[in-house]
């Protein structure tokens, strides 16, 4: 997949250029340089507090760097005046804690990501049902998060992240709160997405076995990228 230089051969979907971010005196990211190719599955690994989730939140445009820039398909996010559209149409977000809306059922949780896409109610519902079916969650469509297991909730959260067919899926410790079997299911969903849909995935994880499923791994420590071992070498 990678060129001999270690850089992706396909055009970059994401470029992180000299990104710095500090929370008061705490430096979270310090001069991060990273390129992700279209269709690549990248795992970002590292110990707690290394800046993995912060990096992901910058890529998701949930936060802004103090210095440097994040470019999506060549365009700097800092130039984008409609970051909500970027978050809605270009990226899908999966969190460690599923972050589903507790009083909505699985179908409605998927549908809320489609508000603002000019899809009619019936189209939104049909798309949500299709995604839940793809996640093998059809029977859970009318259930609330409290009526589902952790793994099922996380798969609903993935369905929500995919609601608008984003080219880029960002996952922050997606298996962090799951038992091994549920974690395997989630990784399998990602693998299926990556292979059949060609979705680019950037996945933050501290679980080396989960990271091994990716094409490439970058490791962060104290806000720096310290190594980019291949996934195969980790496995």
């Amino acid at each position: 997949m990678n060129a001999p230089s270690g850089q992706p051969a396909r055009p970059p979907i994401l470029e992180v250029r000299d990104v710095h971010l500090a929370y008061g005196p705490v430096v979270a990211l310090d001069g991060i340089e990273l390129t992700v190719a279209e269709g690549e599955w990248l795992a970002v690994s590292g110990p707690s507090g290394s800046g993995k989730s912060t990096l992901l939140s910058l890529v998701a445009a949930l936060d802004q760097p103090d210095r440097g820039e994040v470019r999506y398909r060549g365009r700097a996010l800092s130039d984008d005046r409609h970051l909500d559209r970027y978050r809605r149409n270009e990226v899908g977000l999966v969190f460690q804690l599923h972050n589903l809306v507790a009083h909505l059922d699985a179908r409605q949780n998927v549908e809320i990501a489609m508000f603002g896409t000019h899809r009619h109610r019936a189209a939104r519902r049909a798309a949500a049902d299709e995604l839940l079916e793809w996640m093998q969650l059809s029977e859970f469509a009318s259930r609330r998060p409290s009526e589902m297991s952790g793994g099922e909730r996380q798969r609903v959260a993935i369905a929500r992240a995919l609601a608008n067919r984003p080219p880029l899926l960002l996952a922050d410790e997606p298996t962090g709160s799951l038992d091994p079997e549920s974690a395997d299911n989630v990784v399998e969903v990602f693998r299926k997405l990556h292979r059949s849909e060609g979705t680019t995935i950037v996945m933050v994880t501290h679980d080396r076995s989960v990271a091994a499923a990716a094409d490439r791994i970058v490791t962060l420590e104290r806000g720096h990228i310290v190594a980019t071992p291949s996934a195969q070498s980790v496995a």
Binding site: S57, A60, L62, D63, H82, D84, R85, Y86, R87, R88, N89, L93, F95, N99, V101, H103, L104, R107, Q108, E111, I112, A113, F115, G116, R121, R124, R125, R160, A161, A163, N164
Partner: protein, 372 residues
């Protein structure tokens, strides 16, 4: 699921809080609508009493406590009659008396028998009273029906027994539910010799009523001419005070309503920061999030408005049965009064939701998502 459906579902999830918040709005709306209905009703009652007969407008003493305490001297009435453009001016004395428990506010009208036709009175049975007859009365046909009186019967009004010499009809219900006396008799009985309560004026054909009214006002600084219920504040100071009280109550209701709804919305905002963060993270715009919070407030307001109007209807209906107000208060829920309740409720909702909805919209998604 539609956007409105999501709003309703969000509110239904916090059912008790939604109902309590709507109840606060309802109390504010009840206060505003009830006062509005009472004011309008008293205004209409005063207008109906004073605007009976075939008058283009009426003239009464300016700025008295209540319209029925107006005193216009017969000399002033004659000057009004001489005003250019005036076709006729009939001096009328109006008073009220406690007749019995079912008629606690019975209207007495004093008109000279020679002016009855000009005033717009039609005799439907019997004959008019004599000009100075001390014990003759005519009853409006509705009063005769409810009191079971016919021509020739005797009726005790106050401390005096009268013979019913005729039944009459005028153009409105208050007049038809009243009794009519010779002007001098009523002046003597009420100790108001040489005075009337109002002058009913008709203008010459082709004359503009407003022009003649302006002349009367100019020539008689202590008098005021009115033709609409809304103008009665010029005569009846109580109506002005009531109107001011209504405005004051509306402001207080608005402030209290906003404070209660704001505290409920702020509590909801704090509880839902993470939810708002998720919505922003999945691509909701600031405007959409603002609309969600604002929409929830407006739905609560509409619930409160509906409950408030219902409560007000029950309250004013109960007031109608208070004996001292029977016949005076007739609750009429006009579009204007209900509209005032509605915009008060929506005003409460929008004002109260403004701050929490802007805060929700301005949340940084990364900060909101970190919220436990």
């Amino acid at each position: 699921m539609t956007f409105v459906g999501l709003i309703v579902r969000n509110l239904a999830t916090r059912r008790l809080r939604t109902l309590l918040t709507a109840a606060a709005v309802a109390i504010s709306v009840t206060a505003v609508v009830t006062l509005g209905v009472v004011t309008a009703s008293l205004e209409n009652s005063a207008a109906n009493v004073l605007l009976m007969g075939k008058a283009d407008f009426i003239v009464a003493q300016k700025s008295v406590a209540t319209a029925l305490t107006s005193v216009v001297t017969e000399a002033q009435a004659s000057r009004v009659a001489r005003t250019a453009g005036v076709h006729s001016a009939v001096g009328v004395l109006v008073g009220t008396v406690h007749l019995n428990a079912t008629n606690p506010v019975f209207i007495e009208i004093g008109v000279a028998p020679t002016r009855l036709k000009t005033f717009g009175v039609t005799i439907v049975s019997g004959h008019p009273y004599g000009a100075h007859a001390r014990h003759e009365v005519m009853l409006g046909w509705q009063a005769a029906q409810s009191l079971h009186k016919r021509v020739g019967n005797t009726i005790r009004i106050g401390t005096i027994d009268y013979t019913v010499v005729g039944l009459y009809s005028v153009n409105q219900v208050f007049g038809n539910a009243a009794a009519m006396f010779p002007l001098t008799t009523l002046q003597a009985n009420t100790r108001k010799p040489g005075t009337v309560t109002l002058v009913a004026v008709r203008v010459n054909p082709g004359q503009k009523v407003a022009t003649v009214m302006a002349r009367v006002d100019r020539d008689n600084p202590s008098l005021a001419s009115v033709r609409l219920a809304s103008q009665f504040g010029r005569i009846d100071r109580n109506l002005v005070f009531l109107g001011a009280a209504q405005t004051g109550a509306q402001i207080i209701a608005l402030v209290v309503g906003v404070a209660v709804v704001l505290s409920a919305m702020l509590l909801s905002f704090v509880e839902r920061i993470r939810e708002f963060g998720v919505l922003r993270a999945v691509g909701w715009s600031r405007t959409r999030l603002l609309s969600l919070v604002m929409g929830e407030a407006v739905v609560i307001s509409l619930l409160g408005a509906a409950a408030g109007v219902g409560l007000s209807a029950a309250f004013t209906t109960a007031l109608e049965h208070v004996s001292s107000l029977r016949g005076v208060l007739e609750s009429n829920f006009s579009i204007g009064v209900v509209g005032r309740g509605l915009y008060t409720a929506i005003g409460i909702g929008v004002l109260a939701a403004l701050y929490p909805s802007v805060r929700a919209a301005m949340l940084r998604p990364s900060v909101a998502l970190r919220r436990e």
